[in-house]
């Protein structure tokens, strides 16, 4: 079997495994084995992609208007968007009255503030590059400690969701690290900036949820 023949049946080999002849070719051919490894790697990485994007608030506004126009909403009931936001805010205020809540809420605020300070648009000449590259790693370190605190607090309060928080933070940290790495090579990359902001927003939300869990 040559490479051409092997690659013609490659989709089926990746899905179902190959027969003896195909496996033998794979073992003996560096190019084909690298190709198979790459394709499997791409598929694995794709599975790790998260729904990272939120629609803009106007989407819900439009939906609500259409629902009202079509008479799908009960009469006398209007938007609860403000209500829910207020409800959440008041919950946040209540939760911060507990010590763990304070710690977590402060950590969330610090991480998010640090992000805003570090990644707001900067003039290229105003910051020496060495300074730029040193700050994110310091922040990652601080983030690790905060994460440990968050996980410890969650584990104490609700051990059954500890794993979900751990993997959530791990995944969101991986996004942050990826975006930071792209930004280090190209600080003006708009896609990476956007993804970094979204990742930090997710992280902030995880912290807030953890803080809410610490409510008595």
């Amino acid at each position: 079997m040559n490479c051409q023949q092997f690659q013609e049946v490659l989709p089926y080999i990746i899905e179902n495994g190959g027969n003896e002849e195909e496996e033998a070719h794979l073992r003996g051919c560096r190019a084909c084995s690298e190709l198979v490894r790459d394709l499997k790697y791409i598929a694995e990485q794709a599975k790790l992609l998260l729904p990272m994007h939120d629609p803009s608030p106007r989407v819900w506004g439009n939906i609500e208007q259409s629902l009202q126009r079509e008479g799908l909403l009960k009469e006398g009931r209007s938007s609860r968007l403000g209500h829910i936001t207020n409800y959440s805010t008041s919950q946040t205020q209540t939760k911060t009255s507990t010590p763990i809540g304070w710690v977590l809420a402060t950590a969330a605020a610090l991480v998010f503030s640090a992000l805003l300070i570090l990644y707001r648009p900067q003039l290229p000449s105003t910051q020496p590059s060495a300074q730029n590259s040193s700050v994110p790693s310091a922040q990652i370190q601080a983030g690790d400690n905060d994460d440990q605190q968050v996980i410890a607090a969650v584990a104490q309060d609700a051990p059954e969701v500890r794993h979900a928080y751990e993997s959530g933070l791990r995944e969101v940290n991986a996004y942050i690290a990826d975006a930071q790495s792209v930004l280090q090579s190209d600080p003006q990359d708009p896609g990476a900036r956007e993804q970094l902001l979204e990742a930090y927003q997710q992280k902030e939300m995880l912290y807030q949820m953890a803080a809410a869990r610490s409510l008595p």
Partner: protein, 224 residues
């Protein structure tokens, strides 16, 4: 951030409910921002309860929007399609009987909305037809003896997202449905109105194309 949610399943449903058809978290266990269960919100929404409509939107908007965005690669289209998917959801919610998980039902509905939209634009069919024809640029590599540097360990999510975005629409849709969203080939074939073999072939070409795009991106980065 407009709506804060206080349940990990609500805000990050993908952590527990990673694949729509493999959802391990029942709707009764998902809690909306207002504190009611998803099952309760569905029942109330069937009666036209505005708050429950919004609670369901809050629970699922990120998944639906991300799906639309990845399938279309266009923010404005993705927002329109998210809007359309939720409107259809609310119009049809009375017919939801709970035979499948609500997220599965909604997800499938959203996929259908996107596919319908793309069909109107005439994009996926072109690529699906093309998949039946041998394509020089996407066929087996002629320089197959050349040594490649493996990608393993070098892909970051930013570049992968970007590469997916730049895939031709037909490839992108199959790749997103199969590799990102976790649909099986038979489900994709049914949704797309193509054969299973066609779906497999498209997926393979999409991965090959992605490999090229990722290598190109890596080479460009190295050249800077």
């Amino acid at each position: 951030m407009t709506v804060l949610t206080y349940n990990i399943a609500a805000t990050l449903p993908h952590l527990i409910d990673q694949r729509p058809y493999k959802g391990k978290l029942t709707q009764a266990k998902k809690i909306t921002a207002t504190g009611i269960s998803e099952a309760e919100a569905i029942e109330r929404a069937k009666g036209g309860d505005a708050e429950s409509f919004e609670a369901l939107y809050g629970l699922h908007k990120r998944r639906v929007y991300s799906l639309c965005l990845r399938m279309t690669g266009n923010t404005a289209e993705a927002e329109d399609l998210t809007q359309e998917a939720f409107l259809q959801l609310y119009r049809k919610i009375a017919t939801f009987r709970g035979e499948s998980a609500f997220s599965t039902w909604l997800h499938r509905l959203a996929v259908n909305v996107v596919l319908m939209h793309l069909r109107k634009k005439g994009l996926p069919e072109v690529s699906l037809d093309e998949a039946l024809e041998p394509q020089h640029e996407d066929g087996p590599k002629k320089d197959i003896g050349a040594r490649d540097n493996v990608l393993a360990g070098s892909i970051d999510r930013v570049n992968l997202e970007r590469a997916i975005e730049s895939l031709p629409p037909g490839y992108r849709i199959i790749f997103v449905l199969h590799d990102v969203e976790g649909y099986e080939h038979n489900e994709i074939a049914e949704m797309m109105g193509c054969s299973i073999g066609n779906s497999k072939s498209q997926l393979h070409k999409a991965r090959m194309k992605l490999r090229d795009l990722l290598k190109l991106s890596r080479a460009e980065k190295a050249a800077r």
